[in-house]
Assembly symmetry: C2
Homo-oligomer: 185 residues x 2
């Protein structure tokens, strides 16, 4: 097989088909290393995202319950959001946790950087662990957000995880990593 550097697809044409605040669709005409042409390859362009496994001083996880219109179901989640222009991933993560739950402070570390779909999306999600957070303000949601924060103990979160109730893979991956590497399973 060809070396890695030879495997990149060549973009022959690129058009932005659709551009709205929450959805940007790019259409690329690409040439594969084999010489094959793909006339229409769609890439969804997004800013990078963050999410946060936040744990209080008392060892409780700051979880969220939220209706998710894509799958049409209620979903148990961790705090997640978009990195705004000019923000670092860490700044965005701290801001989102404060807005969605009112929790802040604590010790923060980045635990992994992953893609929701490496084929069709161009962005990455930076996942953080925040230990020792405290309730320091009230919740401040956007007009169309509908998020219910819930504190859960480690056994309750583990139960969600092992019973596959953490449906969103961008959250399930760092949560499995955290539970596995912390010896919590």
């Amino acid at each position: 097989m060809a070396a890695t550097e030879d495997r990149k697809w060549k973009i022959l044409e690129s058009t932005r088909l659709f551009e709205r605040p929450w959805l940007t669709v790019r259409k690329d005409k690409v040439e594969l290393p084999s010489g094959q042409i793909n006339e229409e390859f769609y890439v969804l362009e997004y800013p990078d995202w963050i999410n946060v496994i936040a744990i209080t001083e008392d060892g409780l996880f700051v979880m969220e319950k939220q209706y998710r219109h894509g799958i049409g179901e209620m979903s148990y989640e961790i705090c997640a959001g978009v990195i705004e222009e000019g923000e670092t991933p860490l700044e965005a993560a701290k801001r989102e946790l404060l807005e969605e739950t009112g929790y802040g402070e604590g010790e923060w570390e980045e635990s992994m950087v992953i893609s929701g779909n490496a084929s069709t999306t161009n962005n990455f999600t930076h996942s953080f662990i925040a230990r020792g957070v405290k309730k320091i303000s009230s919740q401040h949601l956007d007009r169309t957000e509908d998020i219910e924060p819930i504190l859960m103990n480690v056994e309750q979160v583990k139960e969600l995880l092992v019973s596959d109730k953490i449906k969103q893979s961008l959250m399930a991956a760092p949560m499995w990593k955290f539970f596995a590497t912390e010896g919590l399973l």
Copy 2:
């Protein structure tokens, strides 16, 4: 807070904006339980997907190396694909593994069902574990697929996982789950 059943968003209008073989975009006008209206909520419609953690009789993992145009990088992956009409998730998983790698047979179980993005996509990914697979045919790729199968031992796959080289969250989540629950970390 309202009960779960009261939290569902009401679809006031729904239009399919864009419909191509690899991308369908739906635009919904929705009403939240709060009464707030969101004039444009975009949902990406896909068929359900599968992926497979496949392990040979000799304990080697059937991995793949593939260029991913969304993130513009080479990616270490497990076998993944689309469930075709009329197929069960298991049938699709067996077909995809055979097409992409030439491996088949063995003992199969479904390990988890997750969403790439519960907010913006309407589909689920069924993740399988296949133990004791054998090389039973040659690879049969679609014209625009460019997949290099690689056999790796457990230490090599663990190294990919702990160093965050499994970039796709739909693969990282079931792989972390597998390594954690099998005691391989």
